[in-house]
């Protein structure tokens, strides 16, 4: 402490305890610049709450879409679909006059059946003869688009132009396509063993699984017949069961032990 200089002392003493009143705006600036503990806490909690809500919404949305898998092939239940027995007519005009009936009516009592609808339309009733007992005509059958599936006519099988897929029959398109048979070529060589018995069982062979030419038409026709019967009876349709192709049996024991 070497405040010896009188001038310094003079000024120092003179200014001692001197006060100037600050304007009100100063405190406002200070208050704005300083976070009181309460406000900071509240701010942090608010942020936390907002974050929690956001996360919750995001999670629940994700879970919702996980549980409710929205697939393309959601099929309608069979009961909702109405079928009309196709009637054999010579022209489309006559067919359009035919009434719509529910497909689950039994086939047996449909021989000479009358329509059971409003009396106004009774005039337009026509005799309904089940498909299978009707005389087969060489001409193609005119059926309304929303009516029962088209009758699989042998002639239709040959030319793909007349056979059109019927939209009223709902099949799981995805599953059908998944079961499509694809040709697989398997070629394998095994190490020749010392024993001749080994040769007997395992030989070099090409194995292919494509066999669609012989008997395919008959198979399709038989399948369609069966399914149509199912349809009329109100039973669920069945997908075609693929034949188990002849598989090559490999005796692994012999391979590994040799």
């Amino acid at each position: 402490m070497k405040e010896n200089n009188p001038l310094d002392e003079y000024f120092k003493a003179g200014l001692e305890g001197h006060e100037i009143q600050p304007s009100a705006s100063v405190w406002d600036k200070i208050e704005a610049g300083v976070e009181t503990k309460g406000s900071r806490k509240a701010g942090v909690w608010l942020l936390l709450r907002a974050a929690m809500i956001t996360i919750f919404l995001g999670l629940s949305t994700w879970v919702f879409y996980q549980n409710n898998d929205f697939k393309v092939g959601d099929a309608k239940p069979m009961e909702e679909i109405t079928f009309t027995r196709p009637t054999i007519t010579d022209s489309p005009a006559q067919t359009s006059a035919a009434k719509e009936e529910k497909g689950n009516e039994s086939r047996k009592d449909s021989g000479k059946e009358e329509k059971t609808t409003t009396p106004e339309k009774e005039k337009k009733q026509s005799k309904v003869i089940p498909i299978m007992t009707q005389p087969v005509k060489s001409k193609s059958i005119y059926v309304k688009a929303e009516e029962a599936p088209a009758v699989i006519d042998e002639s239709m099988l040959v030319s793909s132009e007349t056979w059109t897929p019927d939209n009223s029959v709902v099949l799981d398109a995805e599953r059908v396509s998944a079961n499509k048979v694809t040709p697989i070529k398997v070629k394998f060589k095994l190490k020749p063993a010392t024993t001749p018995a080994f040769y007997a069982d395992n030989s070099e062979r090409d194995v292919t699984t494509q066999e669609d030419k012989p008997g395919f038409k008959e198979k399709v026709y038989a399948y369609a017949n069966n399914q149509f019967e199912n349809l009329l009876a109100g039973r669920p349709l069945e997908l075609p069961k693929p034949e188990r192709k002849p598989q090559l049996e490999i005796d692994l024991g012999k391979i590994f032990n040799n």
Binding site: M1, E3, N5, L7, D8, F11, K12, G14, L15, G17, H18, E19, I20, Q21, P22, S23, S25, V26, W27, K29, I30, E31, G33, V34, E35, T36, K37, G38, R40
Partner: protein, 187 residues
């Protein structure tokens, strides 16, 4: 009969509450020390507006750094050091922005001199109107009590520069005082 008067809190209590973040305690501390501190700031800068700017910045620092106050030494002294520091920062900041035009401003001084002793406002005005370099060094050495070495470190100048600035400041103030006394005497 008697009304309840809230006694002013002690410094110790104020600090304790400010540490907790108590807004009321902060306000009370400010009310207690702001006027003195504004006077301190006023000496370092050109105008009252600048002084208030320094004051507000410094008090924000006081409240945010209240935890760093160890309790050793008076609270006022601790706050004052923050004020001086902030004043110097402000000067540096101003210097960077533009060249401070130094010219003596006599209009601040009253020439009437009613009292024998120069009152504080006059003295302050005299100091405040000094050129920047003289003013700063005089404040730090003469009033705050720092050594030249310390001043050198704070301002980034040599000790010799500090000494020369101080002597020039004193000379200036002496002249000013004599002028005023003379004027007073003339009347």
């Amino acid at each position: 009969m008697g009304t309840l008067i809230k006694l002013p809190s002690t410094d110790q209590k104020l600090v304790k509450n400010c540490r907790k973040g108590d807004g009321k305690a902060q306000r009370e501390l400010y009310e207690k020390y702001a006027p003195q501190m504004l006077s301190v700031c006023r000496r370092y800068v050109r105008s009252l507006e600048d002084a208030e700017e320094v004051l507000s910045n410094a008090f924000i620092k006081v409240f945010t750094k209240i935890d760093q106050y160890s309790g050793e030494g008076a609270l006022g002294g601790w706050i004052r050091r923050i004020m001086v520091n902030e004043a110097l920062n402000y000067i540096r900041y101003q210097k960077n922005l533009f060249v401070e035009i130094e010219h003596e401003n006599h209009s601040q001084l009253s020439h009437t001199g009613f009292s024998d002793k120069m009152d504080a406002d006059h003295l302050l005005a005299m100091v405040a109107e000094l050129p920047l370099g003289y003013r700063t060094v005089f404040n730090l050495y003469g009033i705050e009590g720092y050594t030249h070495k310390e001043i050198g470190e704070m301002l980034g100048i040599s000790e010799n520069t500090s000494k020369s600035q101080l002597s020039k400041a004193r000379k200036h103030l002496q002249e000013r005082l004599e002028q005023n006394e003379l004027l007073y005497k003339e009347q």
